[in-house]
């Protein structure tokens, strides 16, 4: 069945590259090698979200049983989002699991992942810490997601205050991404973040 998978991906790639809507949105897919079973995707952070201005990279692994089973999609760009693991980049999205249908394509997948950035589903979380923050402290969630988009996805206009907090902790000898993780999961309370790093 590997033949259906490869020939379908070949077709879908052509389709994605010719799709006016995707081109306009700067959504793209490329092959990782010649196998047609591993691809990389790129989606811009949607407007009016903390991800705006960032570029997010995806890894798309096509199973040999594609399209009868969904592709495995994960973020390779670090991102702060209730339905995406802040550690592994794994995505919790129904169409990539039990709601997959064989007529769905790379186009569907890319647009759905992009839509997920605009509309988080905190009740079906992948990252419990982010989901809790999203529900209990929307403002902290927005600032953290924005900070991560600037730090990892190339978005501009980061908050100076948050950058300084990360610096303060790195000056104590902690590594930057650990410092960011700790601050992010403690609503940017430096004391609690340091405590967390020490434990």
């Amino acid at each position: 069945m590997a033949t259906i998978a490869a020939s379908r991906i070949k077709r879908e790639l052509k389709e994605v590259k010719a799709d006016a809507e995707l081109i306009k949105d700067d959504v793209s897919v490329e092959l990782m090698d010649n196998s047609y079973l591993a691809l990389t995707g790129e989606i811009p952070g949607p407007k009016d979200t903390p991800y705006e201005g960032g570029t997010f990279h995806l890894k798309i692994i096509i199973p040999e049983t594609y399209p009868f089973n969904p592709p495995q999609v994960s973020f390779t760009t670090k991102i702060w989002h209730p339905n995406i693991s802040s550690v592994t980049g794994a995505i919790c999205l129904d169409i990539l699991k039990d709601q997959w249908a064989a007529a769905m394509t790379l186009r569907t997948v890319l647009l759905s992942v992009q839509a997920l950035l605009s509309l988080p589903e905190p009740d079906d979380p992948q990252d419990a810490v982010v989901a809790q923050q999203y529900k209990e402290n929307q403002d902290a969630y927005r600032r953290t997601a924005r900070h991560w988009a600037c730090a990892y996805a190339g978005a501009k206009s980061s908050s100076r205050e948050l950058d300084e907090k990360v610096e303060r902790i790195t000056e104590m000898g902690f590594n930057e991404s650990d410092a960011r993780d700790a601050l992010s999961s403690t609503d940017w309370d430096v004391g609690r973040a340091v405590e967390k790093l020490m434990s």
Binding site: E21, A115, L119
Partner: protein
Amino acid sequence: MPDVKTPSGPENMDSDPNSDGLKHRAHANSTDADEASKDSENAGATGGTATDSAEKDGAGSQESLFECNICLDTARDAVVSRCGHLFCWPCLYQWLETRPNRQTCPVCKAGISKESVTPLYGRGSTKQQDPRDKIPQRPPGERPEPETQGPFQGFGFGDGGFQMSFGIGAFPFGFFASTFNLGEGGRFMGHPHRPQVPPNPDEQFLSKVFLWVAVLFVIWLLIA
């Protein structure tokens, strides 16, 4: 020119696989709108749907109309679902085998089963058979409820639609069958791939009661 859209094939139905995804309705709708405007432009050409789906494919041919919704190639041993979606039989078969518990159309997620699809016989097909002998009428597009195949299906609670009415309808016959040993060991009649349900104690009790009522009724008839 809204009449251009009337020869509505599956393309014009709400058949976007995104339809229960997140907020893709927006995307799907805008695509529909685009297609509708293309339709109007092509009002003179034959078959608005053919033209726009060919354009969507970028191939500029009419081939895509007959592409399988799973392998995206021209459908071989083509079958069409009751919701109007076209597949190669091998492709659809594999999809249904992959998801035995959730048999839904890969395009629109309507209920689908191996029995409910209609094969299409073209002129050049191996079986030289007039399609009208087998297919009295082209089936209209429908949206039956998804037919779940869970372990407790067939009892008629919450399954909905077709499955439910069948389950209830067949129930008394199930009693008869087990009571008079006519059936296949108490298996319900009616549905081809319902798993065999061993008669439970309650059911056996009910069967006995049913039998006695029947016997008393016959006796009463004889006396009266």
